[in-house]
Symmetry: C2
Subunit: 399 residues, 2 copies
Amino acid sequence: MKCIAILGSTGSIGRSTLSVAESFPDRFEIVALAAGRNLDTAFEQGRRWQPRIISMAAEPDADVLRSRLKQAGLGKIEVVHGAAGTVKVASLPEADFVVSAIVGVAGLEATYEAVKAGKTVGVANKECLVAAGELITAEARRQGKPLLPIDSEHNAVHQCLRGGRMEEVERIWLTASGGPFLNTPRSEFNAITVEQALNHPTWKMGKRITIDSATLMNKGFEVIEACRLFHLPPSKVEVMVHPQSTIHSFVEFIDGSILAQFSVTDMRLPILYALTYPERIQSDMRFPVGDLRHLDFSPPDMNKFPCLRLAYEAAEAGGATTVALNAADEVAVAAFLEGSIGFDDIPRIIESTVSASNTGRLESIAQVLEADADARRYAQERILVMPKKSAQRRAISVV
Amino acid sequence: MKCIAILGSTGSIGRSTLSVAESFPDRFEIVALAAGRNLDTAFEQGRRWQPRIISMAAEPDADVLRSRLKQAGLGKIEVVHGAAGTVKVASLPEADFVVSAIVGVAGLEATYEAVKAGKTVGVANKECLVAAGELITAEARRQGKPLLPIDSEHNAVHQCLRGGRMEEVERIWLTASGGPFLNTPRSEFNAITVEQALNHPTWKMGKRITIDSATLMNKGFEVIEACRLFHLPPSKVEVMVHPQSTIHSFVEFIDGSILAQFSVTDMRLPILYALTYPERIQSDMRFPVGDLRHLDFSPPDMNKFPCLRLAYEAAEAGGATTVALNAADEVAVAAFLEGSIGFDDIPRIIESTVSASNTGRLESIAQVLEADADARRYAQERILVMPKKSAQRRAISVV
């Protein structure tokens, strides 16, 4: 029986993890949940899974949850809250495996504490590797525990890497769907609407990650994650556009052999892989191999998608640049979604923010959070001086 | 330094093995060669590699080679001949690794003896697994030594299997180019000429294997090889047509993940893999991943290619049926190449020969060879009663 704590239990990855646990009741026990502000879902999860502890983001929510659980005869479930509550969930002695799936920098400290507490951590939170990757992977190495990627690309790489030793890896190739603007001419990018950008061809995801997929920034983040997770320089991490998103990634070995992984596009599969690693167990997530017909590939266009180039540059520079990249992107995407800036302003905001950040090594999660706040402030300021220009540009493109 | 003996050194796989050894002079030493009847090549190989021993198929050739080597100052190389000579090469105490690449049943006994002598064997000879697979794999298990496949498909499977344990395999998928008649209507099969059948779209190979690729019998043999090599029932070995021959095979695991291997179509790659396994070493055989554009797949048509169905049936039946399948195919392909029978007579000859063979377990290589000789005789007799019909059919197809 593997005892699991989930950071971000009410989000998409958290719910998928519970769905996997539901399918294998004699393998997994849910011992701790950190939820956000979704009180009803947290209550339902508490009633269904009866963990030792649940943490809510805000204290008032924790109070309400505590009394609702008590009324339901579940007063034995400890209810905590805030950053300290999340850390308590992450480092619960009874947990063997921690799923890190809180979106944004809010999950950083708890994930770092889980690694420090010697847990095996399944990483779905992008910021853990993009912003704090050097710190977290160094700590996992010290602990001698694996960091298991819970996203389709890095999970695929992890699987393919079993075909050889790390020193036998020539390079890895992350596949990218290419997003909805793969075939849109660069000249039309300034006229892209929010609705168009939210229309992702293969995956149904949250708004920010959908925009990040449209700019290829999501793939850029994945390049940085791969560098941190697999201890590879950016020159050994390539991106290949593959619109069907069937093959999730390749690993090229020094002898010239390449291993690729493919499967259905269902997040429960990398979650199951991480939860059972190094074993595999029978699932019903079958890819219909007999129906396979065409797979297409093309190289990414870094001129059309400057976010990908910016990510490579930040991966190379290290330090606070990757923190700034993530923070500026989050701010810029929010501004785009609100209609304050145009689609092709997103990389402009990011580039100027990253240029202003420093490349010195970050020594603690506190320093990461500080660099993150600085970058957000900087990006916000850049946006304030920008709208007129963008509004003008959008007006021109309509004419 | 790995000491290598090659059975079939003057053939295509033998020469590719020497080319690999040439590229890594500080890793591999060639200690023994078994050549066929190509005296000049055997002499050149002897002069270049100076092995302890060379075996020729025929005694007169051995005598000539011995004196030519002596004249060249290489009298210390022992020259032997015949089946006993090949066995001596296969079981030379100084050899660590034996490459089994003699074409046809001639290589069976020596390969079996190599396995019995505790060598690690790289198998390129189809008959070792199709005709004597049950015997040879059982002996390798007893010895606790791996049998490493030296052909692109099974080598790919071997690599993908590293992603899990054997009991975690749901099924394997061998890819097939589909041969030159993938898109030829079934109704035109009786008019197929030798020249058309020899025109393989992706691989340059010998005549028999090229015809076997055109009938998909080669893929059928590979299904049987895969069953024997990986201890899987035929129901767990599938075939997928993939005209580009880029992906060499897939392995589908029970959790729903699929690993695939691809590389350049160069036999030196699986040879290098087998010679260095479990390590990988740097080679210049790079697949141009950045140039990857389209991969196509489709299910095989067993009605159009009955040889594939016959192979599945023989794999299921076991015993002498797989021996008969191989023997009858060799006889039928030779008859087709001579113009004695039509292209679509090949499966007819095979089917009637296999039906007449028995399914009892073969207990020795001698029994395999006896079943092989019986099947050849039977197939020859079937061909003798057939030509008139075929000639007539070909005449009709011309009209």
